[in-house]
């Protein structure tokens, strides 16, 4: 008999690189068989009985995590999907509560024992289901409940009065719970916080809010331990630090248990017979092959990057679904009830395929999925690893996955991602510095819970890793922002939301403030969405009322529609009838061919890692040779007509087309960085008098067009490309552009909502997204004009630089290509330039160009040569 110690010793010796999963170390099905002494010491009898009945035994890392937790250590467990991570995370809690036993009726209030936080509501619900099964089978005296935004008010109230032992919830619910007056009582006996999918929880503003919540929990329950569960990440130490309180003079971090291994997934790239398109994201060409794959497998999950791609794929599959296979659709814009139905059907294995977006991301258990199809480029190797992991929750069997590139560049990207998966490369984004708008929200929440002492709260907040470097001055400014808006013009003292009492504590001015806080909690600011409602036309042709609600759609999308246009939503072709109040009215369209293609661009920019891989592939004839024929021929032609850039080389092509001159830059740095580059380059070209008219950015390249011959200008060094691409564009040009950029407005809106300057919702007064958008833009303008150093503008600039503009990445690129720019002056478009040229006309219009369009519209009127009474003056 191999003891637990000897097993662990083996693992240690091999650096935890290999764990003998499910080895028949304890292949006995008899309750009375002797147990290894160590297990008997660790696990209470019901657990041992259960394992024995199942013929299973706990895995080494599960026991290791348990013993570390019992020794009072916080721990990060990194393990691939299927390694029993979830059970490992809950084992310490289940064991501890079982030892304590059921509380006799009438005992004093104990509060919750364990808090489980997941990034997704659906995941919290799912975990409850999966956890209840063994808990019931073992007959453990453990109460488990979930609490999400969907939990009815009555149940929430009951949970506060009579809390379960294990509460499964989301970061937003935690924020609400700690802002409650009863938080102290509720959490005082909290032993464990289990954080699932930690790698994805920590990287956003949501992660910042959660880190602050955790700091508060540590104060309410000083003995509390954290258990982080994560997929493989590049920097585990960042997560280890995140899990425990940080203090100025001492490095502290959680322990680490790493489980690697699992069978290598079998991934292939779809090689369709038909023509792979040059550009676009629909992957329509591959539908028959995808359908064939669905037929060959039991249950298939099809992932796409955006909602509209999901709609399109779903529609196309049903068009050829001659066998009437049960194929369903699942994305975040659909009605909740509809989503739950699909989830339930999936769990019961009643579906053959589900087309889904990232709402189904992360570790949800989806029954017996045996194939994952990923349509479109995976945009980032770690996302891919996640999604492939879904296919199979048993580690010893390989997962099956098919990648379906939507265009030729994506073929290369898929190949790169495929290579990345094999070598286990990860590019999870870093935790980042704690956002100030999130801090403002938290500060208000803490005032709602109980009057706070500023110094004490500052000390608490700086124990949260993202805020460890927060200065006292900045903290004071944030408190001021919460109290009166933080304006230099101090006119709002009498309206302050929080005030300092005589005792020097900050307290909320009135109950309405707390109510407002509760309605606005969270960091996910939705882009303005309108409800989509199906209506019928009556006999007279006018629209009826009160049809079923199909879900929500982004307002910007509707702005492109005219009544009568048809579009895809909720798997149906719908006719846009108009907007009434805050709803988008639609009717059934009797057509299978939607007129308006929805935006199908990838939301997730190409990761740095994959971009580098694609550049390598372009430069390397051997790697190019592994690509499908169509793509290889395309690249070969590019080599003949122009050239294929070396890995460290920046290729710029110029060529005339129609009455315009084009310049295409192959930077491979992702759409966001290219957009920023496009804005800055056009400013510079404009200054050089070359009359740039516009630009379009894709993940791979940037196209700029102008009236003047750009190629001739670069040849004559007026300006030279080295000057044009000099790093100094990130100085004044960036500053000047930022100041009038619409991107900043959008970012500001998010910051203003999170910081509580603008309500997302207001008691009794539902604002539409549009109203919020408009006022946020106007507020931004006024604030920038009168108080450019305001803390929210600072927060906005920080956010934009890091996120939307990808300035860091652009800077690295400009440095890298210095002295490595190659200009090809062509007399016509090159094969490599085709994809970006096909994107022209799809981008949203910005800034100056808006007035240009207005001029065009107004010129029409002038051309109409209207009668007297109307002419444009000046």
């Amino acid at each position: 008999m191999i003891s637990r110690e000897s097993m662990l010793r083996e693992e240690m010796a091999s650096g935890f690189s290999f764990v003998p999963f499910d080895l028949p170390l304890f292949p006995v099905n008899r309750i009375d068989s002797p147990l290894p002494e160590s297990d008997a010491l660790t696990l209470p009898a019901p657990f041992l009985r259960w394992f024995a009945e199942k013929g299973w035994r706990p895995r080494a890392h599960q026991l290791e995590l348990l013993s570390r937790a019992e020794a009072g250590q916080s721990t990060l467990l990194i393990a691939p999907t299927g390694a029993g991570k979830t059970l490992a995370g809950f084992l310490p809690s289940l064991v501890d509560v079982t030892r304590r036993g059921k509380l006799p009726p009438g005992s004093a209030f104990v509060g919750i024992h364990t808090l489980y936080i997941s990034p997704l509501k659906a995941l919290a619900v799912d975990i409850e289901r999966n956890l209840l099964k063994p808990v019931n089978e073992m007959g453990l005296p453990v109460r488990i409940e979930n609490r999400t935004g969907d939990t009815p008010q009555g149940k929430r109230q009951r949970q506060k009065l009579n809390p379960p032992d294990l509460l499964l919830t989301t970061p937003e619910q935690l924020a609400l719970l700690i802002a409650d007056g009863e938080a102290e009582r509720f959490f005082k006996n909290l032993r464990y916080v289990v954080l699932d999918e930690l790698h994805s929880l920590v990287t956003s503003k949501r992660g910042h809010l959660l880190a602050l919540g955790l700091a508060r929990l540590r104060r309410l329950a000083p003995g509390l331990k954290t258990i982080g569960l994560s997929a493989t990440v590049a920097e585990p130490m960042e997560l280890q630090r995140w899990l425990v309180g940080q203090f100025p003079d001492k490095e502290s971090h959680a322990g680490l248990i790493t489980v690697s291994g699992g069978a290598k997934p079998e991934i292939s790239i779809l090689r369709a017979e038909s023509h792979v398109p040059w550009a676009g994201h629909s992957a329509r060409y591959a539908i028959p092959d995808v359908y064939a794959a669905i037929k060959e497998h039991g249950t298939t999950l099809l992932f796409v990057n955006t909602r509209s791609q999901a709609e399109m794929l779903f529609q196309e599959l049903w068009t050829i679904n001659d066998d009437n296979l049960p194929i369903a659709l699942h994305h975040g814009s659909l009605d909740v009830a509809q989503r739950r139905k699909v989830e339930a059907a999936m769990a019961e294995n009643r579906l053959r395929a589900v087309v889904a977006t990232s709402t189904l991301d992360l570790g949800i258990d989806w029954g017996d999925v045996d194939l994952v199809v990923h349509v479109g480029a995976p945009k980032g190797a770690s996302r891919l690893a996640q999604r492939i992991g879904r296919a199979n929750h048993r580690m010893d069997e390989p997962s099956r996955a098919i990648l379906v590139p939507a265009n030729r560049f994506e073929v290369m990207e898929c190949q790169a991602a495929l290579d990345a998966n094999y070598i286990g490369a990860q590019d999870t984004p870093p935790v980042g510095k704690g956002a100030l708008d999130v801090l403002a929200q938290h500060v208000l929440g803490m005032a709602c819970a109980k009057p706070f002492d500023a110094l004490q709260l500052y000390d608490e907040i700086t124990t949260a890793a993202p805020y460890a470097d927060l200065s006292w001055e900045t903290f004071e400014r944030v408190v001021d922002l919460v109290a009166t808006g933080g304006y230099a013009l101090r006119t709002y003292e009498r309206y302050a939301r929080i005030r300092k009492t005589k005792e020097g504590l900050w307290r909320v001015s009135n109950p309405m403030v707390a109510q407002q806080y509760r309605l606005n909690v969270g960091t996910i600011v939705e882009s303005p969405m309108l409800n989509v409602r199906m209506v019928k036309r009556n006999a007279r042709g006018s629209l009826g009322r009160g049809g079923i609600s199909l879900g929500k759609v982004e307002e910007y999308f509707l702005e492109m529609l005219s009544p009568g246009d048809t579009f895809l939503f909720s798997g149906k072709v719908l006719r846009f009838e108009g907007i009434r109040e805050n709803e988008c009215l639609v009717s059934q369209a009797f057509s299978f061919d939607p007129k308006v293609p929805s935006y199908a661009g990838g939301k997730f920019p190409l990761s740095t890692y994959l971009a580098a891989q694609v550049r390598k592939m372009l430069a390397d004839p051997l790697r190019r040779a592994t690509l499908p024929d169509q793509v290889r021929d395309w690249l070969a032609l590019q080599g003949d007509v122009s050239m294929l850039p070396r890995e460290d080389e920046l290729l710029i092509e110029t060529f005339p087309r129609g009455s315009r001159h084009y310049m295409v830059t192959y930077a491979f740095e992702g759409r966001l960085a290219h957009q920023t580059l496009g804005m800055l380059l056009t400013r510079r070209l404009d200054r050089a008098g070359l009359k740039p008219l516009g630009f379009v950015a894709t993940d791979y390249s940037l196209g700029v067009w102008a009236l003047d011959d750009l190629g001739a200008a670069f040849r004559a060094r007026a300006p030279s490309l080295a000057q044009l691409f000099d790093e100094d564009m990130l100085g004044d040009d960036l500053e000047a552009w930022l100041n009038e950029s619409f991107l900043l407005k959008r970012t500001f809106r998010t910051c203003a909502v999170i910081a509580g300057l603008i309500d997302q919702r207001h008691p009794g007064k539902e604002k539409t997204g549009r109203q919020v958008t408009v006022s946020a833009d106007l507020i931004y303008d006024v604030l920038r004009m009168h108080e450019p150093d305001h803390i929210l503008l600072e927060a906005t600039r920080n956010d934009a630089a890091a996120g939307l503009l990808d300035i860091g990445r652009l800077g690295t690129m400009l440095k890298r290509i210095k002295g490595h720019i190659t200009h090809r002056r062509l007399d016509r478009i090159s094969p490599l330039a085709v994809p970006v040229m096909l994107e022209i006309g799809r981008e949203a219009v910005q800034g100056e160009a808006q007035d240009f369009l207005l001029t065009e519209a107004a010129d029409d009127l002038i051309n109409e040569a209207m009668g007297a009474g109307l002419h444009t003056d000046g």
């Binding site: 009168h786 305001h790 065009e856």
Partner: protein, 241 residues
């Protein structure tokens, strides 16, 4: 906000683009700063200033920047200087709420007093400020007949011949090359004219919204849209719904 930059940084005499129109036969100029000038009467009309909107929100717990009043008044100063009108009509919703005019800081009060010096100043009452302006120069009233036109805050249900009104904050959208641009606008069919909202933190309502239905003869309706520094005139039929 280019309107704001324009008003405060460019000299009032610099070239600007405005649109001429007529309302019930009365000549009128749509100024890109957001006001309507009637050259024959020497009258300037502005609407929906929504002064003290920031503080109105602050009272309810939303700490919007306290600079909106100043910004709006600066533009008002610029447009008054540009046209040097004998009469100024502010067409209602002059203040964001009833307490606005009484609670307005002294500095702003002085700015208004300076602008009103030597002119007739009319505050038309709006739904946000039905009680009139308090402690400010000029007269408050519900409506005014002047220069062959009738001025009121909310457009009437009647045919509206010669009516100049505000209240609805009209805006319009044009679509070109599959892209759309939305701007505040003056809207007129030659009989009635709706004013754009003048206040810097006021939003807009699309001309196709049902609140606008029945107000205009859509065959004749033109949206004079506010660009950065000029007016763009677009027929209703060419607007995006």
């Amino acid at each position: 906000m280019h309107r704001l930059v324009h008003a405060t940084s460019a000299p009032a005499t610099s070239a600007f683009f405005q649109a001429r129109t007529t309302v019930n036969g009365v000549a009128a100029i749509c100024d890109p700063l957001g006001g309507l000038f009637l050259p024959d009467a020497g009258t300037l009309v502005v609407s929906d200033l929504h002064l003290e909107k920031g503080s109105a929100f602050a009272r309810r717990g939303m700490m919007l920047p306290p600079y909106d009043t100043l910004a709006t008044l600066r533009i008002l100063e610029a447009i008054v200087a540009r046209h040097n009108p004998g009469t100024v009509i502010s067409l209602g919703d002059n203040f964001h709420d009833r307490t606005g005019s009484a609670a307005m800081p002294e500095t702003f009060r002085l700015m208004i007093a300076a602008m009103a010096r030597g002119r007739d100043w009319i505050w038309i009452n709006g739904n946000h400020d039905p009680d009139g302006a308090s402690g400010l120069p000029g007269a408050s009233m519900d409506e005014l007949r002047h220069a062959g036109l009738i001025f009121r805050h909310e457009p009437s249900k009647a045919d509206g011949l010669g009516e100049v009104a505000g209240h609805l904050h009209p805006s319009a959208t044009v679509r070109r090359r599959e892209k759309s641009v939305r701007r505040a606008c003056f809207a007129t069919d030659g009989k009635r004219l709706l004013m754009p909202a003048f206040g810097v933190t006021t939003g807009g309502l699309d001309l196709r919204h049902r609140a606008m239905s029945g107000l205009f003869d859509r065959q004749q309706l033109v949206a004079h849209m506010m660009g950065r520094d000029r007016i763009y005139s677009v027929r209703f039929a060419n607007l995006l719904g």
